[in-house]
């Protein structure tokens, strides 16, 4: 299975990554080798049928939602800038 630089570019857009043409070529070559290797999962254990359904857990068996501890103040202390008790995220405008 060969991944072309164009396919890598499409994956990069989905993953929010910006690749230079050189890196795109390099990744296409490296990822093709990796995909070729992992593709062995199609052949290994062929015919193997394994249950993959998740076991269901009754709602009564789940832990009750409860606030154990909050770290609001330390988190606010970490913020570079606050407006009241709201954290000001870095701007994105040019």
């Amino acid at each position: 299975m060969q991944l072309t630089p164009e396919e890598v570019e499409k994956l990069a857009k989905l993953a929010r990554l910006e690749l230079t043409p050189g890196v795109r070529e390099q990744f296409a070559d490296q990822l093709s080798k990796i995909v070729e290797y992992v593709d062995q999962v199609q052949e290994v254990g062929k015919g193997l049928t394994v249950q993959t359904e998740r076991r269901t857990v009754a709602a009564a068996d789940l832990a009750k939602d409860a606030v154990l501890e909050t770290a609001t103040e330390p988190l606010l202390d970490l913020a570079a800038k606050l407006e009241g008790r709201s954290i000001v995220a870095p701007g994105v405008k040019a």
Binding site: R16, L17, E18, V44, V92
Partner: protein, 485 residues
């Protein structure tokens, strides 16, 4: 006597007798980091004054008559993907260069509660992705046995710190071998516990279904002490379970009565000298009373492929949160819109290996490929786990090499990711099958340490420690001192 050569029981005896203070021992370790720190590069940050303050507080407790136990006064290093309140926690990535942890990981808190002195945070491959620690965004770490070779990875800083006597024990994390492979390369003991034994709260996620925190030490008994402090249910990690505990008596039970399954090592690129050390250790265990059986696990040969499919899929999801606006980044990119800013921050913040795995995971989870790759990997994972369960009906523990070779040279595999991945071929099956596994030194090849690996049934770390402690007594490779120590 250099206090850095003492094991935990010897250290506690010296504290009790008043021969050493915790401050003096901590100072000796900090001096060693000062002297060899630049050569080994194990630490990203050293907490000199805080460590001395911790030591002084422990000395006060000794003066009040406290008898040292657990990890009391044990100089400890912490892998830098574990949070510690008020300290930088980078996970080896530029993406988290500015992140100061507002809370402490449960595993770190537990070792501190047990009396450990935290010396600092150790280097790692970015987000624990790698087998050589060369993927760190900050520095190279060298192998204390040969500065031209890698320490292994991803917990290479922790392994190197312990091997170089720059910490007595250390915490690492193991998703596919990231404790055991560097332990093997550096001549230390390293354990990956069963998933669910140790809390992941405060561990920066690589692959949430596989990540597990575990110990490094220079003896099996010291690794056991650290392991004991770590385990147990944590309300902050719903995947932790209440599992049977065991005491130190497992360390003295011996090999008589144990049936050990020796795994086949017939793979391309296997170092013949490593095979020879495995054969010698096996013969040694047989002479000491163990029953030996040859074991082949055919399905498990696909573990590495299964591992990279599952891990990359989870990586693409776990690292999706780092956008440079809400999580991580420099906060300096100004492009005019959120998506473009995020793209710039992620491209600058993630290194090559992180980007490769994000891309691979994006591919394997994409429409049309998710069934072919991700779902198939999960099916095989169940099959591999079942194969291990079947094997443990015939044997108590499995034994084989930790890695196909000794530590390779810096740069040797850096540009060939697939070859780098293959160095984990013997460690990933334990993660995929969710069983505990321990690497320990069993000899040397090419003047470098060779690691042997015991694998036990799920939640049977007692059997792994029993076999490892017994083999350690039969061999002469406990508490090794590397040339750079």
């Amino acid at each position: 006597m250099d206090p850095r050569r003492l094991t935990i029981p010897e250290l506690h005896a010296a504290y009790t007798a008043g021969d050493l203070s915790v401050e003096a021992v901590t100072g000796a370790y900090l001096d060693a980091i000062d002297r060899h720190g630049a050569t080994v590069g194990a630490y990203l940050e050293v907490f000199g004054s805080q460590a001395i303050q911790q030591a002084e507080a422990l000395d006060a407790r000794l003066r009040d008559g406290e008898k040292p136990s657990g990890l009391f006064g044990v100089p400890t290093a912490v892998k830098d993907n574990l949070c510690l309140t008020g300290t930088r926690t980078t996970a080896g990535s530029k993406m988290l260069e500015r992140y100061i942890a507002p809370y402490t990981a449960t595993s770190v808190q537990r070792v501190m509660d047990a009396g450990a002195v935290v010396l600092g945070k150790t280097n790692l491959d970015e987000f624990a992705m790698g087998s050589s620690t060369e993927n760190s965004a900050y520095q190279k770490t060298t192998n204390p046995w040969d500065a031209a070779r890698v320490p292994g990875g991803s917990s290479g800083g922790s392994a190197a710190a312990v091997a170089a006597s720059q910490a007595l024990v250390a915490l690492g994390s193991d998703t596919g071998g990231s404790i055991r492979q560097p332990a093997s390369f550096c001549g230390t003991v390293g354990l990956k516990p069963t998933y669910g034994r140790v809390s992941r709260h405060g561990l920066i996620a690589l692959s949430s279904s596989l990540d597990q925190v575990g110990p490094f030490a220079r003896t099996v008994a010291d690794a056991f002490s650290l392991y004991t402090a770590l385990v147990g249910v944590d309300p902050f990690d719903a995947t932790t379970v209440q599992a049977p505990a065991f005491d130190t008596s497992v360390l003295s039970k011996g090999l008589r009565g144990l049936t050990i399954g020796v795994l086949d090592t017939d793979i391309a690129g296997m170092d013949e000298e490593v095979v020879a050390r495995i054969t010698e250790a096996t013969d040694c265990m047989q002479k000491a009373g163990a029953t030996i059986k040859k074991i082949s696990l055919p399905l498990s040969r696909a573990s590495l492929a299964v591992y990279y499919l599952i891990v990359s899929s989870e990586v693409s999801s776990n690292l999706g949160r780092y956008d440079g606006v809400r999580y991580g980044g420099t906060g300096q990119a100004r492009t005019g819109n959120y998506w473009q800013t995020s793209m710039v921050e992620r491209s600058q913040g993630f290194g090559d290996e992180a980007q490769r795995r994000i891309l691979l995971g994006t591919y394997t989870l994409s429409a049309g490929y998710a069934d072919r790759y991700y779902k198939r990997a999960l099916e095989l994972q169940r099959g591999i786990a079942a194969e291990f369960v079947q094997a443990f009906k015939d044997v108590d523990v499995l034994f084989g090499p930790t890695s196909p070779s000794v530590a390779f040279r810096l740069g040797e595999k850096f540009d060939d990711p697939l070859t780098m991945y293959l160095s984990d071929i013997f460690t990933v099956p334990a993660n995929i099958a969710n069983v505990p596994a321990l690497s320990q030194p069993i000899g040397f090849a090419k003047k470098m340490p060779v690691g042997g690996q015991f694998i036990g049934p799920s939640f049977r770390e007692d059997l792994v420690f029993q076999a490892a402690a017994a083999l350690e007594r039969e061999l002469t490779y406990a508490n090794l001192a590397a040339p750079l120590a």
